[in-house]
């Protein structure tokens, strides 16, 4: 005697639909991370723009002058500060242009494309922002403290306002760097946990 297994014909074959592509699963914590990403990106735009603008408008002319020249300090006098202004403007521009990708990541929390794109470009611009911020910080440190061994005078004693403006710009750029690091970490976590 043979055992047979009866497989009943399902009567509703025509009505079945096969889901192709990503079904709309609930976003969960990935959507939360994407929303945080968007908000932090807005903050980073503000910080980067503030840094570039503050450094770009730093200018101080001392009220006394000699017969031959006037004592003036502006960001133009230091090549490092020129590099700082240009690269922080670039970072701010990139962050603004990456906002649409962040919005796409909110709408589709499980898509890896936008997140991967954002993490790669975030890394590159993190390097740019860090390098410009750190090199400007080295010059600002020199301006505050001088260096006895190389006989470099601390110009902050004379150009107080200029010093304050450049220091503020450097601090703002470091805020941008920290936000970018947090953005990369969040994107990595969202990519790595399915």
């Amino acid at each position: 005697m043979s055992t047979t297994i009866d497989v009943p014909e399902s009567s509703n074959t025509k009505g079945k639909t096969i889901l192709l592509g990503n079904p709309a699963r609930p976003g969960g914590w990935k959507k939360g991370i994407a929303i945080m990403d968007f908000i932090l990106r807005l903050g980073a735009v503000a910080a980067a723009l503030g840094a570039a603008a503050t450094m770009g408008m730093s200018d101080q002319t001392l009220p006394f002058f000699t017969q031959f020249f006037q004592f003036e300090a502006s960001y133009d006098s230091f090549t490092t500060f020129q590099f700082f202004v240009i690269s922080m403007a670039l970072v701010a521009g990139y962050l603004v242009l990456s906002l649409p990708f962040s919005i796409v990541a909110i709408i589709r929390p499980h898509a890896t494309g936008p997140r991967l794109f954002l993490i790669i470009l975030d890394t590159v611009f993190l390097t740019l922002a860090t390098s410009s911020g750190a090199s400007a910080a080295a010059i600002v440190y020199l301006a505050h403290n001088g260096n006895q061994d190389t006989n470099w005078l601390a110009i902050c004693n004379q150009f107080g306002d200029f010093c304050a403006q450049t220091s503020g710009a450097v601090v703002s750029s470091f805020v941008t760097v920290v936000i970018l690091v947090v953005l990369i970490v969040m994107s990595a976590l969202a990519l790595g946990r399915h």
């Binding site: 230091f78 890394t123 750190a134 020199l142 470099w152 990369i184 970490v185 790595g192």
Partner: protein, 186 residues
Amino acid sequence: MEKATFVELSEQKISNQNGKMKRGVAVIDFILRLIAIVATLASAIAMGTTDETLPFFTQFVRFRAKYDDLPALRLFVVASAIASGYLILSLPFSILHIIRSSAGMTRVILIILDTVMLASLTAGSSAAASIVYLAHKGNTKANWFAFCQQYNSFCERISGSMIGSFIAIPLFIILIILSALVLSRR
């Protein structure tokens, strides 16, 4: 039934290709880490062993230059040393990824630590680079003298040690991008 086995076989083939790609990426990751270790160690040692004494001296002052005299160069030595130490410690994780291609959480940890190290190494080397630039060119407006004109060998040493870190930084970026690519392909 045949359709089911066909689908199973093609899924197996895709996961095999995925596995091979992950192994290849893990091998590249390991090799790049080795190169970055050499680069950062060389930078730290080259900067850390600078010492030049000029052959003339006055009654009160002896002209001597060490990396210690400039805080930015000190920061560079410390950051390079920390980066090379981290890279050496992350080699076992890299080997683990070659052996077992499916480790997920360790890759995330590695990306996070790589990013932090990238930021600190970039900061240290950019600060040192701006000081080296000042040493070469000086700044007339701030009346900062370019001391490269006197301390020739010290200047060459500190300029040369920048090269190692400027090799290591793109390597870090590539490492992060590779890890992110592998993570997104699961």
